[in-house]
């Protein structure tokens, strides 16, 4: 689960990280209120779960109270990459030119089977851009999952990355960030920029924090922070059913049993000359009702012009899949062509059920390629027709 900047900052503050003051505002008047309380200048920052807020005009320096109000009006309600800004964070402004901006972050790294701590003197930028252009400017260090990050290791990383300032305090900030990551099951935690002013003391100006969904059961307090309005409505519905679902920008709905087969299904749809509209993994052992819900979910997406179902039944029974699809047809939910490849357990029973229904909307094919080709053809024809 992704947290907002202000929420990530709250967590880091609880672990003793020196975080830039800030308050959340939901109306331009509230923005003015905070600006008055802090004294000027302030910065008004959109709170949305996407990167590149600054470039999109979602972060604005505000030298006066009136300007803060005006910027609040501009940013609140703004659309950034499809998400509406409902909240802003108002912080005291820092004279960036008087100090230095650095980057520190921790990420789950399968290559070292633990967290990797990353530090770079190229702060303030997207770390992906730094990694792409100048990978040598990012210092990486495996964090021991049993002992955690120790101060001498953090100092060593800071020195290698070329950090200047109070090294003990900078290392201490990294250690506390690491403690927060372990304690709160972070998948990713970043402080960027980590700003070091003329006094040499570090302060976290911006943060990113993402919590491991598998560990949410032990962070029930954070679950309350989840904002459904900040997520795609179909993704919310998918999470209710327990599906792994990602909205994509094509016209073929794709569903299958297992992340691997669904990823390969996306590849096959692309090869067939269409684009997937989504990734939907119904998981293992799905019964008819689950398949029914999956078909319902994908059918609701107006971008979807045809549905490609790719199942290799092990625990999952092909006849259950067929039953779910047929039920959706009978209930009038299924109005788009479904092209499927179902192999494995109870394949013959599934074929028999579909033969009985004999609807042109549901067709089964012997291979995933034929099913994907047909789904792609149907979807592209429908997309042409609707233009």
């Amino acid at each position: 689960m992704k947290l907002h900047e202000y929420q990530g900052k709250d967590i880091l503050r609880q672990f003793g990280v020196n975080v830039q003051d800030g308050k959340v505002a939901r109306t331009p008047d509230e923005v003015r209120q905070v600006a008055r309380e802090y004294g000027q200048p302030v910065v008004v920052k959109a709170q949305v779960h996407v990167g590149g807020r600054g470039k999109a005009g979602g972060v604005k320096f505000s030298p006066t109270e009136d300007k803060a109000f005006e910027n609040g009006e501009k940013i609140l309600g703004m659309d950034i990459k499809g998400l509406t800004v409902n909240k802003v964070l108002v912080t005291r402004a820092v004279d960036i030119d008087a100090g230095t901006e650095y980057y520190v972050g921790m990420i789950v790294d399968r290559n070292v089977q633990s967290y990797t701590l990353m530090a770079s003197a190229e702060g303030g930028m997207e770390i992906e851009e730094v990694a792409a252009a100048t990978p040598e400017k990012i210092i990486k260090h495996r964090v021991d999952p049993v002992t955690g990050l120790r101060p001498y290791e953090a100092r060593d990383v800071a020195i290698k990355a070329g950090f200047k300032g109070n090294l003990n305090k900078i290392a201490d900030m990294m250690v506390k960030m690491s403690e927060a990551a372990f304690a709160r099951d972070a998948v990713l935690v970043e402080i960027n920029p980590l700003f070091v002013g003329p006094d040499g003391v570090p302060v976290a100006l911006d943060t990113k924090f993402e919590v491991d969904d598998n560990a949410m059961y032990r962070h029930r307090d954070l679950a309350d922070w989840r904002e459904l309005e900040a997520e795609h409505p179909l993704e919310i519905e998918a999470s209710k059913y327990g599906f792994a679902y990602v909205k994509l920008d094509g016209n073929v709905g794709v569903l299958g049993n297992g992340a691997g087969i669904v990823m390969t299904s996306l590849d096959v749809v692309n090869r067939a000359g269409a684009k997937p509209a989504n990734f939907l993994d119904i998981g293992g052992g799905a019964k008819a009702e689950i398949v029914y819900n999956a078909v319902k979910l994908v059918s609701k997406d107006t971008d979807v012009k045809a549905i490609f179902i790719n199942i290799f039944g092990g625990i999952t029974r092909a006849d259950e899949v067929a039953k779910g699809v047929i039920q959706a047809l009978n209930d009038g939910i299924l109005t788009k062509p479904v092209r499927m490849r179902i192999a494995g357990t109870a394949e013959d029973e599934a074929k028999a059920l579909l033969a009985e229904v004999n609807s042109p909307l549901i067709q089964m094919y012997p291979t995933m390629f034929e099913a994907a080709d047909e789904a792609a053809r149907e979807a592209n024809a429908a997309s042409q027709g609707s233009k």
């Binding site: 999952p145 049993v146 032990r218 792994a244 299958g256 990823m263 993994d281």
Partner: protein, 301 residues
């Protein structure tokens, strides 16, 4: 024959009395696996469908001489179950459970590796963890310690198979079967970001196995396991290897189900994996059926 498990393997099931544990214990028995006992804390002394149930792995091991454990314990207790088995001296542990918190896995994997080194340094046989979030492993017609469908592993074959994805493992095994080749051992290593055994850990076992002629590696985008595998193949492997990479068309930055399947910067891109396999002379199939052609070509060389 094959690697890691055979008809002599004695298997205990941690979490046997749960829904998944029970149904897969039955399926493993049907396959012919020697399932010798179950472990469910609090149910020790009971009988479960003819199997004795023990309160702890240590008790189960000393009573039965088990040398493999398969775990169906829910996520919150899964890492603990792994450590219990490892400390009880079970040399091969298979964690099926999906959704185990990553921090728990980091700690468990590190501890298992430390125990493994310690055991080997003192003349023991070591400790190996496979998974979590994996389908397990199966040596055709001998033993299945996992959740794969029994049917496609009924006849012996000579192709080793390693995969990060469960369903694609079945897909590949069936293709190899239908082509009349079949698999020796299939190892599902799991799709999570932190797992006990990687491609590069399994490849040496196949290289040393007299009953395996070639190996198929089913990888996916994200991580650098495929790159590490390619490096091992390049420097140390004589048997032919054929690869497939799933998710090559996936959009960058989106996480596709598995936490592992995400592209970070330039690491783990399909291009980097293709380049690594190319450098190791490993042909990469564009589609799954093409795997068969490539394996045939490799065997005829």
């Amino acid at each position: 024959m094959g690697i890691l498990v055979d008809k002599n393997s004695k298997v205990i099931v941690q979490g046997m009395t749960g829904r998944e544990g029970a149904s897969h214990s039955r399926a493993m028995k049907e396959f012919g696996t020697q399932v010798v006992a179950g472990v469910t804390p609090g149910k020790g002394g009971q009988d479960f469908e003819g199997w004795p149930v023990f309160n702890s792995v240590a008790e189960a091991k000393s009573a039965t001489g088990a040398n493999v454990s398969i775990i169906f314990v829910p996520p919150a207790g899964a890492a603990d179950a792994v450590l219990e088995a490892a400390h009880a001296g079970i040399p091969l542990i298979i964690l099926i459970t999906e959704g185990v918190p990553t921090v728990d896995m980091m700690r468990a994997v590190q501890e298992v590796k430390a125990l493994d080194e310690h055991s080997r340094a003192h003349g023991g046989e070591g400790v190996r963890l496979i998974g979590g979030n994996c389908p397990g492993l199966v040596t055709n017609a001998e033993a299945k310690v996992g959740i794969m469908p029994n049917k496609i592993y009924a006849t012996p074959g000579r192709i080793g198979l390693i995969s990060r994805s469960g369903t694609l493992t079945y897909e590949a095994a069936k293709l190899l079967n239908d082509a009349g080749m079949g698999t020796s051992t299939t190892v599902g290593i799991g799709g999570d970001p932190v797992i006990g055994t990687t491609f590069a850990d399994v490849l040496p076992l196949f290289e040393a196995d007299p009953d395996t002629d070639a190996v198929v590696v089913i990888g996916e985008i994200g991580g650098a396991d495929e790159e590490a595998a390619a490096e091992y193949i390049k420097t140390s492997m004589k048997k032919p290897v054929v690869a497939f990479i799933s998710g090559r068309s996936a959009p960058k930055g989106k996480r596709m189900g598995h936490a592992g399947a995400i592209i970070m910067g330039d690491v783990g891109t399909p291009e980097s994996k293709l380049a690594a396999f190319q450098a190791a002379n490993v042909p990469v199939a564009d589609t799954m059926p093409e795997i068969i052609d490539l394996v045939k070509q490799a065997l005829n060389k």
